[in-house]
Symmetry: C2
Subunit: 185 residues, 2 copies
DNA sequence: GGGGATGTTTACAGATCAGTATACCTGCGA
DNA sequence: TCGCAGGTATACTGATCTGTAAACATCCCC
């Protein structure tokens, strides 16, 4: 990607996430990235393609953050709930909810690339939970992974409320993992 | 509200929810409700006001459904997780996620009425969980209520994924209530 | 030194946006 | 019978939307 292309994506990310995709026009993105609209269209061809690029970039950054958190876990049981630690960091600078859920809200057409990207992101996290649960020796990895994903998405969705939902979700997630890994009594 | 006003709100609800608020223009709403744009503006004054009316109406319908489910519960413990039963019914005809979360995604301005309505809806459900948990004799109603709300919102958010997340969430919610109401052993 | 990739500048097309203006119709209650 | 609320019909404003046209500048690599 060219330097101008990178600036465009950076501006698009900031504007799309904070103001909404439909509400932000390509003229505004061009202006914020110090670039001509012609250059924007030479690089991305259409607004839809730029939206897809924006979401893909966010997805990659998020996955990197999660992988780092997972790798930083001391025990396999800790690694299972590491994505919740990543979410805590992520939420400090991303206070407008999940960019993918938001994108689906604005782009109802299921054939839009945003739908595939968003679904893949959630399914990636689900599979990660499943693998980590298996590694940690949890008895029902698939069920646990679904529960953890629900808790994760619930924590993101309730982010704007005055609730401290993320610590509660993290605690509950740890308890579920603990119940699976610790011996029954 | 006049007959024309009701038709306008009905058309707005269907279009806003399924296609997105920003993506739907007032002309389209007027056309779908068999009404002139002049009538629409005589009734609601602005698109923002119509959006607020749409969300308020949805909120009332949702609360009625939840209250009915709560009242249908046989035991206090069953009543606590009754909103999950309501969600199951609701999801059959509302497959595009939470209208309030979606509205916040499209309308970033915190002073927009939609923000107040959405926050009130979630806080209403939180308080309902808290009251029901208290009635059922759960030891930590506030904590449990937060957990149940997270599970609820998580189930809504993961609705488009091929996951069966709602049954899992409901089961987990029941287990949490059970752990609180049943005697420790 | 030529040529292609990367940009810029200005202007424009065609559509759609929220909201308004003006004039008219109709049914109902005082 | 009068008046008014509710509604229709059509046209319009000014702004904004995505996307394109055409001509020109710069830089780097072959």
């Amino acid at each position: 990607m060219t330097p101008a292309g990178r600036r465009i994506v950076a501006a698009a990310e900031e504007l799309f996430y904070n103001r909404g995709i439909t509400a932000v026009g390509v003229d505004l993105i061009a202006e914020h990235s110090g670039v001509t609209k012609r250059t924007l269209y030479n690089q991305f061809g259409s607004k839809d393609h730029l939206v897809a690029t924006y979401l893909t970039g966010r997805d990659q950054r998020w996955r990197s953050l999660v992988r780092a958190a997972v790798d930083a876990g001391d025990t396999p049981a800790e690694a299972v709930t590491a994505p919740f630690e990543a979410l805590r960091t992520w939420s400090e600078t991303n206070t407008r909810g999940c960019a993918f859920i938001n994108a689906l809200a604005e782009l109802p057409d299921p054939s839009h690339p945003a739908h595939r990207i968003a679904a893949n992101q959630k399914l990636w996290l689900l599979n990660l939970f499943k693998e980590l649960a298996t590694t940690a020796g949890c008895p029902h990895p698939a069920t646990l992974a679904t529960q953890l994903l629900v808790l994760h998405e619930g924590a993101v969705a309730t982010q704007p409320l005055p609730l401290d939902s993320l610590p509660e979700s993290t605690d509950l997630a740890r308890a579920l993992v603990q119940a699976g890994t610790s011996p029954r009594h």
